[in-house]
């Protein structure tokens, strides 16, 4: 299972039938205000109040606010990455939406199919690799934030063991693990990063078990690439540190939460809406980073000393200015093989194919 967002697997096939009913619970802010265009959002999980979908919904709300009177939005949450997704996307396109944002990797092929049938509708797909005439795709350089959280973790750890709860061994997740490790090692070469794969994007029980296991093995900073807040809560309970992901998770662990790599889609969604209204929208692929405001660090915990904060701010400025790239040479993988020569920066193509751990990760990468 290497879906970008896996539908929370119902334990009985029958409950998927109930799920279909629930997937229909959409909310529409349609006010029929004259010339306003409609934009539809498809979400893979419930919005909740932290996580992947929550951040996309914040983006939707921000766009709605800054484009008041010009755009109205609606969304459907918890749409499984299967045939159901095509039905929802088709429904959105045929009910007058001018833009459809499909916010999960697994929607890609369905978006492609529906886009061909609705040439006048703009389709935007997150985190995929396909695009078309009226079908653009967008993604964020999550690894830039990961590098910075790694720097903080490397400075804050006393045991020199960092824990990482991860979903599936796909390039995006490996970029995060490796950037985190490189960041930590840049300030503390003794650091050792341990990874546990839970084989699910969203399973709070398992995420918690994994975090607890890492903490039991002396990890004193844990982070996660899964959707729930379980790892942060586990860290708070055990009195160790954590770095959140997707959202600022500080309210789930006031003491534990050092910072988080957070996603911000609002400004980009607003821009797309403006372009579509103005008729200037062109299909394409964007991989935005800190420079574009896609990725930000959540406020850093007061327990982090000021010099560390300053150092992080400096690197952040360099990343934004393009003078520093988290994957700059030389980068060696676990076996010591050089993956990137000294003085070079990694190409987007190589990043997109990442299938190894860098030196500093002591766990073994599972075969997939």
């Amino acid at each position: 299972m290497t879906n970008r967002r896996q539908f929370i697997q119902a334990s009985v096939s029958g409950s998927a039938i109930l799920g279909l009913g629930l997937a229909g619970c959409s909310k529409s802010d349609d006010k029929k205000s004259g010339s306003a265009i409609k934009a539809g959002f498809v979400y893979v999980s419930p919005i909740g109040d932290a996580g992947w979908t929550y951040q996309h919904d914040l983006g939707r709300l921000e766009m709605e606010k800054s484009m008041a009177g010009k755009v109205t939005t609606s969304f459907v949450e918890k749409v499984a990455e299967g045939a159901d997704a095509e039905r929802v996307i088709r429904e959105m396109a045929s009910s007058g939406n001018k833009i459809v944002f499909a916010t999960s990797f697994g929607y890609m092929n369905y978006v492609e199919k529906v886009a061909k049938d609705f040439p006048k509708v703009v389709f935007m797909h997150a985190t995929g690799y396909k695009s078309g005439e009226n079908f653009g795709n967008y993604n964020a350089r999550f690894y830039e934030g990961r590098y910075l959280t790694g720097v903080i973790a490397g400075k804050m750890t006393k045991s020199n063991i960092l824990g990482y709860v991860a979903a599936f061994p796909i390039p995006e997740v490996l970029q995060g693990i490796n950037a985190f490790t490189l960041g930590a090692r840049s300030v503390n070469p003794k650091v050792d990063v341990r990874v546990i794969w839970v084989n699910s994007w969203y399973d709070p029980g398992k995420e918690r078990e994994a975090a607890m296991t890492l903490i039991a093995q002396k990890a004193d900073v844990v982070t996660h690439h899964t959707d729930s807040t379980a790892a942060v809560q586990a860290a708070e309970e055990k009195g160790v540190y954590a770095c959140g992901y997707h959202s600022d998770m500080s309210k789930y662990g006031a003491k534990a939460h050092l910072t988080a790599t957070t996603h911000h889609w609002g400004a980009y969604y607003t821009k797309i809406a403006q372009e579509v209204i103005g008729g200037t929208w062109k299909s394409g692929t964007i991989w935005g980073g800190m420079k574009d405001g896609f990725i930000k660090l959540a406020p850093i915990n007061a327990s982090v000393p000021q010099p560390v904060k300053d150092q992080v701010a400096k690197i952040e400025t360099d990343i934004k200015a393009g003078t520093f790239h988290p994957f700059s040479g030389s980068v060696k993988d676990q076996s010591g093989k050089e993956r990137l020569g000294a003085g070079k920066t990694m190409s987007d193509e190589d990043l997109g194919k990442m299938d190894y751990y860098v030196q500093g990760v002591t766990s073994k990468l599972p075969k997939s």
Partner: protein, 309 residues
């Protein structure tokens, strides 16, 4: 491997096995009365959501667990009405209860998703908890873990030594004979079904109030089905249910430790994730492969409705 690591693994094993022990022991009692309730997953789900909501509102884990027990029992009551009074097929009804419970819990829990309640501190038992290894593993657990052992002990005693247990088993073996000697078969069956539901609700409550502690849709993640399988593979014997539950928890936790250790084991993570299921079933099948013992232990009237003519 250091002692500390072994302690950590054993400790986590007990925690991971506890909900399974609760649900499976409830199901065992239910099945011993001849009632096959496949709705454990659904009853756990409603138990988990009810326990979480009440614990969230009241701030008390104990109130939450009581609500979980009630919710599980209530769903079991519906199962009882349909299968005992209306004499519907138990398998079909049980599956319906499972599906209904999971869906109902998702619906009711919607406003509470991603809310957080404070973690309940463990209940450390003085003196005993200072024993190395065992002290940490057995005597620094959540209060509900101890309660699980008490419930387990009572059920073992009830089934093996008490008159009530004999009545229960008689109903499960031959409802007609039990009826002939004046036992109110359907009343016994109702009580057994309610107990099963209450335990499933308590198990669900453990997950949402003590373990995670939060409610999210799908958080039961098949534990109800595992508990059902445990009862069958343990051939309806309580001690084997206990063994199976902790074995499952143990393999589950160990594979996480293996993954994050520096051991170089070249196994796909997916296979490691499947290991607890495989290991538990293989072990229980091996120790319980005596066909005659299965026949002796499985309740003869399991899944069959009874009408007093």
């Amino acid at each position: 491997m250091s002692l500390e690591l072994i302690t950590a693994i054993c400790f986590a094993t007990v925690v991971a096995g506890t909900p399974l022990v609760l649900v499976a022991i409830g199901e065992l009692v239910c099945e011993k009365a001849g009632m096959l309730n496949l709705g454990a997953e659904g009853m756990m789900s409603v138990g988990a959501v009810a326990a979480f909501v009440i614990a969230y509102w009241s701030g008390s884990a104990a109130f939450g667990l009581c609500a979980g027990i009630l919710a599980g029992a209530l769903l079991a009551l519906i199962f009882g009405l349909i299968t005992i009074n209306l004499m519907a097929n138990q398998v079909a009804t049980g599956l319906a209860v499972a599906i209904f419970g999971v869906g109902l819990a998702a619906f009711l829990g919607k406003p509470f998703e991603a809310r957080v309640i404070a973690a309940t501190p463990p209940l450390t038992i003085p003196v005993l908890s200072d024993i190395p290894l065992i002290g940490r593993v057995l005597f620094q657990q959540q209060s509900l873990v101890y309660l699980t052992w008490v419930i387990f002990g009572l059920v073992v005693w009830f089934l093996a030594k008490s008159r009530g247990g004999l009545v229960l088993k008689a109903v499960g073996e031959s409802p007609a004979a039990a009826h002939a000697v004046g036992i109110a078969v359907n009343r016994v069956r109702y009580l057994a079904v309610l107990f099963g539901g209450a335990m499933a609700g308590l198990g669900g409550g453990f997950l949402s109030v003590f373990y995670t502690p939060m409610w999210t849709e799908g958080m039961i993640a098949g534990k109800g089905w595992i508990a059902l399988a445990l009862v069958v593979f343990a051939t309806w014997r309580p001690w084997r249910v206990l063994l199976g539950a902790y074995l499952f928890g143990g393999v589950l936790i160990s594979q996480l430790f293996v993954q994050s250790s520096t051991l170089q084991i070249n196994v796909p993570a997916q296979l490691l994730s499947a290991l607890p299921y495989l290991a538990t079933i293989v072990v229980l099948v091996l120790i319980s492969r005596n066909a005659q013992m299965i026949r002796v232990n499985s309740p003869a009237s399991l899944g069959k409705s009874f009408r007093a003519d």
